[in-house]
Subunit: 428 residues, 2 copies
């Protein structure tokens, strides 16, 4: 782990260390382009070919249906079933609370304006499942889609070695009432949902994290096919802000949890004294030895850094420039820091709130803006699955009240037909 | 205007006529790429050159400040000032009503989750002003940015022939408390805000309509620079659904108001009888003769079409496939149609509610999804200028309640360090 002292850093240097290392992925882009183009042109045939090429599975059909899903789901261990049930309930409770009905507003007498919410009718969920199987992502995307009322929920997840999906993903599907899972992974899954194939329906918006191919494919179809996407995505990251009230072992465990995602994950430690940093790194060295994924975890830790700050406020200043996907406030003084947070995806308060709680089960969504995108993007929520449509109704009285204003502004912009749409109505 | 009878159309044909005619703009893309690259590399120098090349103005500096803005604003005619004041008030009232504070949710005892809203700190507003000067767009973007509390609001608008801006735009700036206007137009303005130059600050999100160059530049910087944008954009459009209770003259005036935007605008008429269509087209022929922009308006009308439907419900079915930016329900029976609307940007109810009211002054935003994007996107609102950050706090009791669930799910996904972040805390 590198080390910086914040007060020694110039503004430019701060910006530089906050820049995520985005590899030059022009070679990936070319490969993704060719995959997307082939799926667009050849449909299912391309998908069968890619399953054999990338997933090393010969598929007979591209999906499994209700009966087969239920049969696979029934093999889930009892404790995992119960854990998914609990996570499901919490995620559902929190996302349901995000629905809000807005009232009508009379901006002038007789001029009434309001918004109504409508579900996006066709959405595509990508549930990763290559190197790690991620049923939690299925819940994080499926539950808000269900609450929103999306009519058609298309789910793609890479086939496992047996050409099926695993019991966790299958059980999530049962919980969500999803009756078909497309066993398609990577850029080809994104292309299939963006353009539609003989088997896979075309959707209006695609959600879900994935590797570089998936991410690149999402950005490609966003501009080429006009498909909306949840957000751009990069490797996962955490920033932990710690002071002397932090528990060094807990902080070490949080940094390691982030680092085990992959060598390109970032685990940033910001602390108010060198002593705290040293203690945490000491615990980290001990804990990492016990981890099955210690090699990749060590790579990520080596790519990460610690920043010494003079106080918590300065730490927040740095954090807001970094704009972390996950922000852990490992301090008893978290309440006073909340108003200072401007850029972050999801925030974990105090010593007993690890990121992994939010990754799986507390109720918040784990699909969050990485790579500094938290400066402009929110994480996935119920909002991500709906549109808000504005409505207005104007009465005769309202028309009289607003008419001349519209006429004058339309004339100022040289749009006479706009003006006339008012004038002709004012004449009665 | 072409004519179709809905019941004679196959599903494929319906999809085909709903497809917006997107010209092949690969030549535009190449030119935009070169403009964006030059601004990125050369900064202000490129902006001065483009002002002289595209706007035909030799600029000494790229912006005007408070004093000059106030001086220009003071020349505004009294009636226009008062019209802007009224529009400002209505837009402010409606957008302020979109703020909502969410409560904290206890998903399990001791596990508390909530969201807080934060303004996007740096936003860029593009106020078009080439062929038509659009102060209304300035209000539509500036007011929600102000309510949201965006710290830095960068405004770009093309210079007028005198190298300044006009009195309407200047007066809007005064109303909004914006103390600098960058006199930069087109793709170069978008590039300047995405990358920053010596004069122009870099922003996190860019808003605003514009011509093809502006639109293409927004999409380019979205993928290349990671700058968020409000939405993709295409030519403006309206769909009017009319029955025998519609006023043919009013409907004609609404179609013409849309058509005068440009030859590529679409004005779609859907009506429940041939007689209604004929009456409306009759009035349209009369009204168009009086319009100063009648030539371009006639081109747009020629590119548009009418659809005969059997009843209003069938009309809504078609409208939802078309997903219009603006939907006018020219019928007294609008209330019963509201629940049937799934895809639209903004809806105008009844015979006395012309689109132009919403374009300028009723309070709703006029920056809306075109080209069918209403299937997945909302128009600009207060939401567009904020992010929602999730927070969570877990107590000892909460940790005991949620702990095993997280441990089991983390283990199922093979993420032992995630599991350990819980286990180590459970040990106390």
């Amino acid at each position: 782990m590198k080390f910086y002292s914040y007060t020694d850093l110039s503004k430019d240097k701060v910006e530089a260390i906050c820049l995520r290392q985005l590899e030059d992925d022009s070679s990936i882009l070319e490969r993704v382009k060719s995959i997307v183009t082939r799926v667009k042109n050849e449909g299912d045939k391309a998908l069968f070919d890619y399953a054999s090429q990338f997933d090393k599975v010969i598929m007979n059909k591209l999906y499994i249906d209700k009966e087969e899903i239920e049969s696979i789901a029934s093999t889930i261990p009892a404790d995992a079933k119960s854990a998914i049930d609990t996570a499901y309930q919490n995620i559902r409770t929190f996302h349901a609370s995000q629905a809000n009905k807005e009232g009508r507003v009379e901006t002038m007498e007789g001029v009434e304006c309001w918004r109504e919410t409508r579900a996006i009718e066709k959405v595509g969920l990508y549930v990763p499942g290559g190197s790690a199987v991620l049923p939690s992502t299925f819940l994080m995307l499926g539950i808000p889609a269900l609450i929103a009322g999306c009519k058609e929920i298309v789910v793609c997840s890479p086939p496992q070695q047996d050409g099926k999906t695993n019991c966790y993903v299958a059980y999530c599907a049962v919980k969500l009432g999803i009756e078909r899972i497309y066993l398609i992974g990577g850029a080809q899954a994104v292309a299939a949902m963006a353009y539609g194939t003989e088997s896979v329906p075309k959707v209006y918006k695609i959600f879900g994290p994935g590797n570089r191919y998936v991410t690149q494919a999402k950005q490609l179809v966003q501009s080429a096919a006009g498909t909306a996407i949840d957000m751009p995505a990069g490797p996962s990251e955490v920033l932990v802000l710690a002071d002397e009230t932090a528990n060094p072992s807990y902080v070490a465990s949080d940094l390691l949890a982030q680092a085990e995602h992959g060598a390109d994950s970032q685990a940033i430690l910001v602390a108010t004294s060198r002593k705290i940093i040293d203690k945490i790194l000491e615990r980290l060295e001990i804990q990492i030895k016990e981890l099955p994924r210690r090699e990749v975890t060590a790579l990520a830790i080596a790519n990460s850094y610690a920043v010494l700050v003079e106080n918590l406020e300065q730490g927040m200043e740095f954090s807001n420039v970094y704009a972390p996907e996950h922000l852990i406030l490992a301090t008893e003084k978290f309440e006073q820091l909340i108003p200072l947070i401007t850029n972050a995806g999801s925030v974990f308060l105090g010593n007993l709130t690890p990121e992994s709680a939010g990754d799986y089960a507390s109720g918040t969504n784990h699909t969050l803006p990485t790579s500094g995108f938290a400066k402009a993007y929110s994480g996935v929520s119920l909002d991500s699955f709906v549109k808000k449509i504005t409505f207005q109704h104007i009465s005769r009285k309202g028309l009289e009240n607003i008419g001349s204003t519209v006429e004058i502004l339309a004339a100022a912009e040289g749009l006479d037909a706009h003006k006339n749409a008012i004038s002709i109505r004012l004449k009665g």
